[in-house]
Subunit: 236 residues, 4 copies
DNA sequence: CATGAATGAGAGTTCATTCAT
DNA sequence: AATGAATGAACTCTCATTCAT
């Protein structure tokens, strides 16, 4: 109950503009967590349209009527679910960077953490790609904003590497985009990728190409050192 | 009527295992083209579930009943639509490679053509990501197979570059994956990317990073030469 | 409300394997009685296929959607209706035998009660003949089982008569079959029979032939006595 | 092609008031035989409502459009099919009586032939019970008339037996009704009866009860003689 | 606040019938 | 006379949402 992911999810659900009919703030938060957990699971497995509100209610352990005290429409539930997933990403990455100061290592860790959290909720990631367009325009914007939050975390690492002279004069936005899509693609193309590689291999080989593609000679040297030390750590 | 895209779409629709109630082959092909055109448009804009078969029929200029002479279920229509889009990709790329023999240039052209055809049917590309999971498992496989078709085209170019000593000892599958996701991402993240770059810039900058990431020194030299000649051609 | 027919119908509806979406047992029973009453009436008059679920709902005083909370398919409604009718038969006969111990008289009363209850629900009886085959195989079995229930009641009476030496060495199953078909035929051929006889005449003349066909001399004597006493009772 | 059944069916189809759009009489008759054969088979197996006109057309080896040159509606096809079956019954019985003059034996043969022809087309017999009510009132009358035709054949035999002093003073109509229902019941309850008896046993035991029920002492004696001679014939 | 039965508009699909060829 | 593609009304069933308790 005290995992940061949880807390963050709770906070996300709070800031959602999805107004509830119930005034007790703590209760709202608790019920929405129940709903979101059920919704993420069901929507991810069955898709948004194939899942009924009744099913969500049952899985969340409450009545159909109660659902509508905490979300105005089925689409509100979807929004809650998507934001919950997206915010959990935005929480995991900083967590992985805590105490790490080296820009090279920070970038490596950030991308690695992103891949890892996506791996742990692959179906939910695919859900975001499938279902965002099912939302009203305004809510789509909220999802995109949440996505940008994560993007910024990666972008900051990229920018720091550039300031540190590790990467050459490439568009930070483009480099970020490639790293982000790389992480997402582990979920999107998991059906194909899993046949030929593990997540660790995927991360190592993909990061290698992307970083090599943007690195300065100094950056490459640093990168080689990092990899070597990781190998040693891995071997130990 | 003789555009290769058309022709290919026709062929794709033929090989679909979606059996029709009508025996006249030409008629089936023609009607399915009507249906597919309407379906791609409507599904792309509104999503699969928000679009009714009635709407597809109306847009295709036929009655509800007629639709069901050419597709057994609404999902069949979706399959037809997705395969049509995917096959059109698989047709455009070879078209762009006709007469080009240099491996470096072939890779560049293949990725460029992929980005271009995706750009021209962005909504349909997103549709494939959103809706494939709405299909029965068997039909999902067909969509994945069609996607692999295109993948192979890119993979062949990558492999040729490697044989030619232009790229280093990286996993061809991984490199291909990155190029493919790169092309797809133009559609998937168009809402964000379009703000800061044109498709040409996107292609140039992204390809630069990815190719640099996999190139040998010889490959980098060759790449520089290609870019210079393209610039000249562009300037002329 | 305390008529035995009612009670039996309720019980029958309970034991039906037709699962409802609603948990309140009393409510389910009550709503199903409404539905069954409407269904028997409409199906009997118009036939199963010519009757829409909407019509049944309207006549039952509820919405289309509600119907589907108490029966999973239109065929479930038919099953409920047929079982209700069949079970009402199986209830009327024991009722008519209460307190009667003489085997001869029991047989006479059983057949008479069967004819009477069939007469009172002629259309429903014909419905069973018309519509059982419209049911899925499993549900057809349930209907047949229910029919056998009634058969057994008659068969028991026949067997008792034989034990009592009133009927000769004929196949009990065959004799039962003839009595049962005799009763059913009052509904099946009512269009023709009603022109030339009343139900009482039908029963008297038909029973006379069938019983004479199976009786021992002792049985015939007993039968003559019974008829005489009934005549007297009728005359009084 | 020269079997009497065929001929009769042809005649029946002619006298049907189902008007065709085609004038060539021979052609109409031939096509209707095709249609009827297909319809009896499909309606019997699947039921009237579960069978489509398209299916009937396909099985009859003609196009959907052609069907409508020989029957105005789907119900016309049903009428044609039912009358065909009913008339085939009315033809088989006289056939079985040819050259037989003894009233006792004629009755036995008539009932036997009825059971036999019903046995050979059990599904079609059940079809008549299921589907007659699906017809417009006028056409229902035609079916009933056709049924009465057969009834009359049996009734005549019964009446002759009575004139010959073989049966006692019972209502001829009632006796006929019992014999007819007895024959029909072989098809209607075949699912149950087949488990415990063959058609020959069914006929022997059932006829025994019914005839005993109506016979005079003289009739019983005659009947015993007939049975003995049949046994001998059977044994030889 | 919580419940869950009730609602009814709306979706996909079928098929008897028509009619241009 | 024959064809078979086209039609569209009509049906069954679903499910987001409401509201009396």
């Amino acid at each position: 109950m005290s995992r940061p992911g949880r807390k963050s999810r709770g906070r996300a659900i709070d800031n959602t503009n999805v107004r509830a009919q119930v005034s007790d703030v703590t209760l709202v938060q608790q019920r929405r967590e129940q709903i979101v957990e059920a919704a993420v699971e069901l929507f991810s497995k069955q898709g948004f349209y194939r899942t009924t509100v009744q099913e969500v209610a049952a899985r969340a352990g409450m009545s159909t009527g109660s659902i509508y005290h905490y979300a105005r429409t089925k689409e509100d539930i979807l929004l809650l679910a998507l934001l919950s997933v997206l915010h959990s990403y935005a929480t995991e990455i900083p967590h992985a960077l805590e105490g790490v100061t080296d820009p090279m290592e920070r970038l490596w860790r950030a991308v690695g953490a992103y891949c890892k959290v996506i791996d742990s909720r692959r179906a939910a990631t695919v859900l975001a790609y499938r279902s965002t367009k099912s939302l009203p325009r305004k809510q789509q914007e909220m999802v995109k904003d949440a996505e940008l939050e994560t993007n910024t975390l990666i972008a900051d690492c990229v920018a720091d590497c550039r300031s540190a002279g590790l990467i050459r004069d490439v568009d930070v936005a483009m480099a970020t985009h490639l790293f982000v899509m790389f992480a997402h693609s582990w979920a999107l193309k998991h059906w194909r990728l899993q046949e030929s590689m593990s997540r660790a291999e995927f991360l190592r080989d993909g990061f290698d190409i992307l970083f090599t593609g943007i690195a300065t000679p100094a950056g490459l040297e640093k990168y080689a050192g990092l990899m070597k030390s990781l190998e040693k750590a891995g071997a130990a």
